[in-house]
């Protein structure tokens, strides 16, 4: 167990910190969920890309720096500590890209990765459907074989970034028999990449709790998708998607830096709230400690992954922990702020925004109920119901 830090890593961290200090916008960007805000965040991503910081773990030929997980964690710590904007390209670079690097053709990599990294093409996700939320294997939107490609019909929902995004990745049922009784519903799904301006695609924004269209419903009416926009093998979409959701629940969706930065801000809030209730202060300290614990857990996981260990269903533990932690951080902040914390046009309103966002954490990317089932059955070996 050697936790000493070497000079190369320190230098990387310093380089990141320096660039962020010089480049992070002084004023927060407008909300990602507005047209203006989306554009501003896209600009920020391009600036990051030009400086070589948009996709630091990627190969250099796609604009990356090929850094390892530890340097990525350091990057993320610095990024959030600097108060830098949320990542509009997150769906693409953190959820789609790992699957791409695993199964995409060389031509697909050439076609998609750089525009993704530059946020020239921002990606939305197409997992859930009205009848398939927690039960993702129940997907019904279908893909029918046609000459040179597929025709998509059906509906997706909860498509994060769907309102303003350019492209979507998602699963469609290419073998309708796989829904019949006795079949494995996970089979017969295929993973597609498609532009949201294609003929037959209708995007209907969904306003979320704060009233902004953070996600969308997307309707497909005979949408043609050519064969070269199938990711991985036909009928193997589920396993491609699982490689994505494993990384989603695992390391890349919620880096510790984000929570450490929130927790530090929370302690600052405690310090400037001398009349605070002891309980709220105590909960804030708890949250800070758990953010630190989360950092150590992810660091440990990263070290094990770098040593070649396979990270499996334990990533559900990760998701349970950070989603609960994020709610607790913001809940403590709102309690410290009191009635003023519910105002929407103050400097502290970011705590309220953060609270609303945190409440989605136990729901998306597999509800926490599902995650507990996964842990109990796949890690602890308890019997299915």
């Amino acid at each position: 167990m050697d936790l000493t830090v070497d000079a190369a890593r320190e230098q990387w961290r310093a380089e990141v910190r320096e660039w962020l200090a010089a480049n992070v916008p002084a004023e927060p960007l407008p909300s990602l969920d507005t047209a203006d805000g989306f554009a501003a965040h896209r600009d920020w991503e391009r600036r990051m890309y030009d400086a070589g910081f948009a996709v630091v773990t990627w190969p250099e030929r796609f604009g990356g720096r090929a850094v390892d997980l530890l340097d990525w964690l350091a990057f993320e710590e610095e990024y959030w500590a600097a108060g830098a904007p949320v990542r509009v390209s997150q769906n693409g670079i953190f959820l789609l890209a790992p699957a791409m690097f695993e199964v995409a053709t060389e031509a697909q990599l050439e076609r998609f990765m750089v525009p993704m990294a530059r946020a020239d093409e921002v990606w939305a996700q197409g997992w859930s459907e009205p009848g398939a939320g927690s039960d993702l294997a129940a997907l019904r939107s279908r893909a029918d074989r046609v000459d040179g490609g597929w025709r998509l019909n059906g509906q997706k929902t909860w498509s994060t970034r769907g309102t303003f995004a350019d492209w979507m990745f998602g699963l469609f049922r290419s073998d309708p028999r796989s829904l019949e009784a006795g079949s494995s519903r996970h089979r017969g799904l295929t993973y597609f990449l498609l532009p949201l301006d294609a003929d037959g695609v209708t995007v209907r924004p969904i306003r979320q709790l704060d009233g902004e269209p953070g996600f969308a419903e997307v309707f497909f009416d005979d949408v043609f998708v050519p064969d070269d926009q199938v990711l991985g093998e036909v009928g193997k979409g589920w396993s491609v998607a699982m490689s994505t959701t494993t990384s989603e629940r695992g390391l890349t969706l919620r880096s510790p830096g984000r929570f450490m930065a929130s927790a530090e801000r929370l302690l600052d809030l405690v310090r400037r709230t001398p009349q605070a209730s002891g309980r709220a202060v105590d909960d804030a300290v708890d949250a800070w400690l758990d953010a630190d614990a989360y950092r150590l857990y992810v660091l440990d996981t990263a070290l094990r992954a770098m040593a070649g260990e396979q990270i499996g269903a334990e990533s559900s533990a990760n998701k349970l922990f950070w989603s609960d932690l994020d709610v607790r951080i913001h809940d403590a902040a709102l309690r410290l702020l009191g009635p003023a914390g519910l105002l929407t046009e103050t400097a502290d309103a970011r705590w309220l925004d953060g609270y609303l966002f945190s409440l989605a954490g136990p729901i998306y990317a597999g509800t926490n109920e599902i995650q507990r089932n996964v842990l109990a059955e796949r890690v602890l070996g308890l019997p299915r119901a």
Binding site: S128, G131, G133, S134, D135, A138, T157, W158, I206, R207, Q208, L209, D210, G211, S277, G278, R279, A280, L334, R335, G338, P339, A340, G341, L342, L343, T344, E345, L352, L359, A360, P362, I363, Y364, T367, N368, E369, R372
Partner: protein, 340 residues
Amino acid sequence: MRLQPDEDALEFAAAVRDLLSQTCDAQALRAAWDSVGQGASGRDDGRVPGLWKRLADMGVAGLVVPEELGGAGLDLTGALPVFVEAGRAALPEPVVGTSVGAALLTQAGGAVAHEWLPRVAAGEAVLALADGHDALVVGGQWADLFLLGDNDGVRAVARDDVDVDSAPSIDPGLGLARVRVHAGAGAPVDNADGRRAFDWACVAVAGELVGLARAMLDRAVGYAKVREQFGKPIGSFQAVKHQLADVFVATSFAAPVVNRAAWSVAHDLPTRSRDASHAKYAAGRAAAQAARTALQVHAGIGYTYENDLHMWLKRTWSLASQWGTTDWHKDRIARELLGG
């Protein structure tokens, strides 16, 4: 000897509930929220047009105004079930502020009371309590008269003598405003007990929180019965059942605490403030739990603005924070129990 409200009070509240179910359903509430910033003056931003008049006709505006001044003459124990219904409907009207103001003026009596209470009962004047010369005031946007409590007692300040700036918050139906009182403005309300009025308001808001908790529980249970995943209603899964059962328990145990507090405040018992704080604390805690659970059970759909749930969530968060936060009330109790 009963902890439940009287039959009469419950019947009256049932009538209010009926009216609100017709006039302030989710659609009306949504329209009220969307009205913010649309009107010219902003005075009635977030309210349901015409509803206050109908409530006044029923007797809700003058709920605690003495009968001889045109009101229903209820004390807090009789008025409480109406606040529960206001909570259940997430009612965007000044029912608590006006009632506590009326209770304060009734208790104090005198010229201000005789001038204003008949107008209150008629639905022509709306009251609000202000806690200091520069304060966030629930219903401040809507009020005609502000009752300003400070160390020197209570002053009645007409709207002309204050600056009112709407304070945009998560809950557009709360009439929240920042209210600045001009120096030396208003008239003293002799004999007014501002502290008791504060406790009164806490209990009334606790009643709203109980109503909110019940409404959110009902919504979550209803959704859990119809939403299917993995081939069956999600309400058949034990994890969902147990979360909802826990909300039922929390809500069930908060209600008698609130009822008791109404009695303590109405009778000005020595335990009045502690009981009022206990009510606000217990109801705030239960409603917060109900909100979290209702959202989790609704999952994605509950996170949308299109679904109605969010209006109840936001009202809950607002009321749990206003009139002393849940933490603050517990701290007040702890100081009394333990000294210091």
